[in-house]
């Protein structure tokens, strides 16, 4: 902006000035892009609503409730016009400010206009994905929706599914308790000190390597079918559920042992030094100082392992345990429809989400406690 003072090379240099751009321009390209995206999304949305309306009419759902639902959908789908309007108004403000030569106002309004433009595009993109998913469900005369979400069948089989799901819950709750103990025992064996601990360390490491490598479904198959075949006294009389619990404990225990080990080794050595310097023995140090701190560090990965385990309980169907997945497959075969399997999926989702929230809440509360007083 400044006028050059001299053109010759050896003249004193001009003092440097901060250059963050002059008068901004209105974000026309962004506004046009937002308008284009919104137009496309609205076109697709209203096509879908029309298809839905036709489907409802065909199914004989011509009540006022159906029309109200459609009206709400239509209203929701035009909600992205709000940020678009704001983007447009902002764009107009920028032009006005530029016309008046007010750099500061132009920058402020341009920033707001750009924000609204991008917000419009972001929401429109999300709406586009959702609408496409709805299109998929309605495709082929709603065949997709009927295959996966046939509500009458879901409602009719729900009590049966819930009962079968209870088997999964039983299996994973018992397994989780066993895994917590077994995993810690294996982790401590992996960390057994000195020359005397060496055989234990090797054994534990071998166990973890073997069971982490084997597919869970194989272990379940081998234990569930194999042990009864061997006819070993006492063991052979266990129930099938007990076998799959043992199989899952062995598999998940290997993972959880590694998680424990990482947590224990993650506690700074100075804590061990402090505990040992007070005269606490190796085991006392582990029990009162190291493990309580290590366990706090591993709660998130432990929860991951547990949710994975909960899902893996669906694998027990391979040895014929009548769990929710097995039950749903029976229903699917009888009715030539997969909606009961969807029920299982929904049940698994429903139990997993609150656990993450609950654990996050507990971790936060514990952290707050350690920053306060007893």
């Amino acid at each position: 902006m400044g006028t050059p003072q001299a053109s010759s090379g050896d003249a004193p240099e001009q003092p440097r000035r901060l250059n963050i751009g002059g008068m901004p321009s209105a974000p026309t390209d962004l506004l046009l892009a937002a308008i284009g995206v919104v137009a496309l999304v609205e076109a697709v949305s209203f096509t879908t609503i029309a298809v839905l309306r036709a489907a409802l009419l065909q199914a004989g759902f011509a009540s006022w409730l159906a029309w109200a639902a459609l009206a709400i959908l239509a209203l929701a789908s035009v909600a992205i016009l709000l940020p678009l309007v704001q983007a447009f108004l902002g764009w107009r403000d920028v032009r006005r400010a530029v016309a008046q030569g007010d750099v500061v106002a132009a920058r402020v309004t341009r920033a707001a206009a750009r924000d609204h433009g991008w917000i419009t595009i972001g929401y429109a993109a999300a709406q586009f994905v959702i609408v496409l998913a709805c299109q998929f469900l309605l495709a082929n005369d709603q065949a997709v929706a009927k295959t996966f979400f046939f509500l009458p069948l879901m409602a009719e089989t729900f009590p049966l599914m819930l009962k079968a799901f209870w088997i999964n819950v039983e299996i994973f709750v018992v397994t989780e308790i066993l895994v917590l103990i077994w995993g810690l025992a294996v982790a401590l064996a992996m960390l057994a000190p000195g020359a005397a601990g060496k055989p234990l360390r090797i054994l534990a490491a071998a166990y973890v390597d073997v069971f982490r490598a084997m597919p869970a479904v194989l272990v379940i198959y081998l234990v569930g079918f194999g042990i009864p075949l061997t006819g070993v006294p006492i063991l052979k009389d266990f129930s099938l559920t007990a076998f799959v619990i043992v199989a899952l404990t062995l598999t998940v225990g290997a993972y959880v042992a590694e998680i424990y080990r990482a947590g224990i080794q993650g506690v700074h050595w100075s804590q061990t030094a402090a505990a040992r310097s007070l005269g606490l023995s190796y085991m006392q140090t582990l029990r009162y100082v190291i493990v309580p701190q290590g366990v706090r560090q591993i709660i998130p990965p432990l929860l991951n392992a547990f949710i994975a385990l909960q899902k893996d309980t669906a694998l027990v169907s391979v040895v014929g345990v009548l769990d929710s997945f097995n039950q749903s497959m029976l229903i699917a075969t009888n009715h030539y429809n997969l909606s009961a399997v969807t029920t299982v999926a929904v049940l698994f989702i429903l139990i997993s989400i609150p656990q993450s929230r609950l654990v996050a809440h507990m971790v936060q509360r514990d952290r707050a406690r350690l920053r306060g007083s007893a």
Partner: protein, 247 residues
């Protein structure tokens, strides 16, 4: 017979010598300051005395009893020798009171009431009674370090090892920690302190040792070491400390 006799001990980490034929003796009720440049082996020496680090050669005797080498019950040894670390090393998952009573309860098998009573008495004495229920994270560095000293004292040690206990503290918190050490010195608690607080070392010690390259380079009364050091390296070290205005 001296209280502690360190005879010609050596230690190396992966071939790098840290203690190199070091000898030192401490009398009953003596406060010995160990000064010297970083890497001279001060911390390692203290850690060897309570068995946190094994030594490679030499021996350490307490009341003529060998406390190094195989067959020594280090847990029993550590009951009677307390150590306080530069980084406090409080247990973050335990309240102040739990930190202090853990070892008396689990190691000395004291009844809970006795352990808590003694802990509260010590906390009260050092002005920390109102912190008993707090978790360490809530305390200032100076408070944490005072709790760490109380935790060591709760075991009623014969000897206290203080490993640069004020080095991690903000300057304004140093005095509250040093006041406790001064008190303990007056009571006759035998202490070995690795320190960079030269003024304090001069005031509180009965003997000062200048450590260099893993051995005691010069030792003597505080007046002699700080006022009239005989060795050139001691003089150079004290000069650099003085130049940094830390004396």
């Amino acid at each position: 017979m001296p209280f502690i006799e360190i005879r010609d001990i050596s230690k190396s980490y992966d071939g790098a010598p840290v203690l190199n034929h070091l000898s030192l003796s401490v009398e009953e009720h003596q406060v010995v300051s160990i000064i010297g440049p970083s890497g001279s082996g001060k911390s390692t020496l203290l850690r060897c005395i309570n068995g946190l680090e094994p030594i490679d050669a030499g021996e350490i005797l307490i009341h003529g009893d060998r406390i190094t080498g195989p067959g020594v019950d280090v847990n029993a040894l550590r009951r009677d020798i307390g150590i306080v670390f530069q980084g406090y090393n409080l247990f973050p998952h335990m309240s102040v009171l739990e930190n202090i009573t853990l070892a008396p309860l689990k190691v000395l098998k004291q009844p809970r009431e006795a352990a808590e009573g003694r802990a509260m008495a010590l906390l009260t004495r050092f002005g920390l009674a109102n912190k008993a229920r707090d978790y360490p994270d809530r305390l200032s560095g100076g408070q944490q370090q005072r709790v760490a000293i109380v935790r060591a004292l709760a075991m009623n040690p014969m000897l206290l090892l203080l490993d640069e206990i004020t080095s991690a503290l903000d300057p304004e918190l140093v005095s509250e920690v040093l006041n406790i050490v001064r008190d303990l010195a007056k009571e006759g608690m035998a202490m070995l302190l690795a320190t960079h607080e030269m003024g304090f070392a001069r005031e509180v010690s009965t003997k000062v040792c200048f450590l260099c390259d893993g051995a005691v380079y010069e030792e003597g009364s505080p007046e002699q070491i700080f006022g009239d050091p005989t060795q050139e390296r001691t003089r150079a070290f004290l000069r650099s400390i003085r130049d940094a205005k830390r004396i």
